[in-house]
Amino acid sequence: MKKTILILVAAYLLSVPTFAQLQLDSLQANRLVTRTTMYGVGYTNIYDTYLSPVEYTGIEARISRETIRMTKLFDGNVSAQSFFQANLAYTENKSETNNTFSGLVNWNYALHYRFPINDNLKILAGGLGEVNGGFVYNLRNTNNPASAKAYINLGASGMIIYRMKFKNYPVTWRYQANIPFVGLMFSPNYGQSYYEIFSLKNHDNIVQFTSLHNQPSIRQMLSADLPIGSAKLRISYLWDVQQSKVNQLKTHTYSHIVMFGFVKELYKIPNKEREALPANLKAY
């Protein structure tokens, strides 16, 4: 009886791939996901002529979550980046007599083709699609107290990734710039109240086509990844320029934000392979 059981167990163990074999035989680049959640604070300059001819400046808090991984497109040379960010700001006019609150949520998805220059330097270039929603709320105005932000874009994105060592300490630098090229934006007409748009339902001309001539925007990020023990700290500087000239209304938001977060490298194991893992490895 004991002999039978031993034979059966040996046959089972030989038939099922071990976890070590999984690592070596089926490691695929498109399953390695780099995910970073970051938190930051900085300075912002808000301008919106629907509300005021004067700039408002102040503090902004921002969070972001980035996921980047290689895909199987073009022989595995294309990476996919999903970037979500949200910010809230509190600003004041120069005369210190009034304040505004503002906020924006942005999600963009980019595909980049990788051009490896050498072992340390990569250039990535590609396109992105993005969705934005937010507001600027002026605490003093009467029938034009707030400006709603809603716009979508397709654009171009470029990235430079450079690995270097400071006396054997590895640092990975990344510079990225995203520029929207075509899009659609919500904007009230020059002197139109939100009462007329939403209560009286006059929607003429409130969705405008945008491109470089009336939406010269750019989002830039410079980051450094610093290994600390078994973790990797990322420090980023974001220079976010959002501008528009639509329906004779001018807006800009210039933000300079420093962000901190930790980079996680995750490997996505498909269900089939996960089931083959020994039970003692799984918490769930």
Partner: protein, 335 residues
């Protein structure tokens, strides 16, 4: 080598793009001259009645420029800017500093008051009912009386149901909006909707489409839908005086269309421009008419709406604690 060239071109494009594409604040100095120019420009580009009121805003610039000096005091600058804004003759135009609010009130100050709270109190008594912003009671000859003091006070649908139900036994209804300087336009719509059984064109609205004095959108029709709650089916008199302004002017405009409603009293003060806000470099806030509303015949109602029956309070009646306008309204509704 080729890739380095591409990287270089990429950075050059970014640099040139950033340098040449700024959407920036127009330079505005926080000096008496800078603040004067800023205020003049706001009105020049965004105020909606320059053409209708036949105001030569360039001539006004020349005339008031002479009063601006580099070392004038804040109070002095405020006085000059207030005087310049008074040329617009608009109750919706104000300049706000930390110490004062500039305003134009001649549209009622130069006319009979036609309202006396002490005399009104003789009609209301002490046991009148109060619902949201409305005081109401049944007068001695079975005429319902409503006093709505300000359209800034919101009225709920349930409140209006209770008021109209309570007054349903009355032979007629007086809606007194004298001295109601306006408020929220949606409250005006909410109340007026109780007095029509069908969808009615009540007026039009326009907005500025650009900085030119004549840059306006096509007039957009405004319709009033009847309320799906309790609606009044008997005769109504709306009492008005010169202080009826803004949202009250809008209310009187809507009510004047309904067949069972008679407007009685004095011409309203007007104020048909929906006001927007802006500010000067020194932080002073300015309010101004930005979006004009017209009546159902596309006529301007900025200067006010004439009553169907002109009635003024007389001093003889006042001496006897009688409100001539309430008395005339009661007699009219009893016919």
């Amino acid at each position: 080598m080729r890739e380095i060239k591409y990287i270089g071109s990429f950075f050059l494009f970014i640099f040139v793009f950033l340098l040449t594409s700024c959407v920036e604040e127009e330079a505005l100095d926080d000096t008496p001259q800078g603040n004067f120019d800023a205020l003049w420009k706001i009105i020049d580009e965004q105020y909606c009645f320059l053409d209708y009121k036949e105001i030569d805003w360039n001539e006004i610039h020349t005339r008031y420029q002479k009063r601006i000096t580099a070392n004038m005091s804040e109070d002095g600058l405020f006085e000059v800017l207030a005087d310049m804004l008074a040329e617009l003759k608009d109750g919706h135009v104000n300049l706000y500093s930390a110490s004062d609010i500039a305003r134009y009130w001649k549209w009622y100050e130069d006319y009979p008051i036609n309202f006396d709270e002490n005399i009104q109190a003789k009609y209301l008594g002490t046991n009148y009912k109060i619902a949201a912003g409305i005081k109401y009671r049944i007068l001695s000859n079975n005429i319902g009386y409503i006093y709505y003091e300000s359209f800034s006070n919101g009225i709920g649908s349930g409140n209006l149901d209770e008021i109209l139900q309570y007054l349903a036994i009355c032979d007629g209804l007086i809606i007194d909006v004298r001295n109601n300087g306006g408020g929220t336009i949606t409250n005006s719509t909410e109340l007026a909707a109780r007095f029509t059984n069908e969808k009615v064109l009540t007026g039009y609205i326009q907005h500025k489409t650009g900085t030119g004095h004549s840059d306006f959108s096509d007039p957009l029709p405004i319709y009033l839908e009847p309320s799906n709650r309790i609606r009044w089916q008997k005769k109504v008199v709306v009492l008005t005086n010169r202080q009826c302004f803004s949202a009250t002017n809008d209310f009187v405009n809507s009510m004047s269309i309904f067949p069972l409603v008679t407007i009685m009293g004095d011409k309203t003060g007007g104020g048909s421009g929906l006001p927007f806000s802006s500010e000067l470099p020194n932080g002073w806030s300015v309010r101004f008419s930005a979006s004009p509303q017209l009546d159902a015949n596309k006529n301007q109602i900025e200067w006010g709406i004439n009553p169907d029956i002109k009635v003024d309070m007389t001093s003889e009646d006042a001496a006897r604690n009688k409100d001539t306008m309430i008395e005339e309204a009661m007699a009219f509704l009893k016919k």
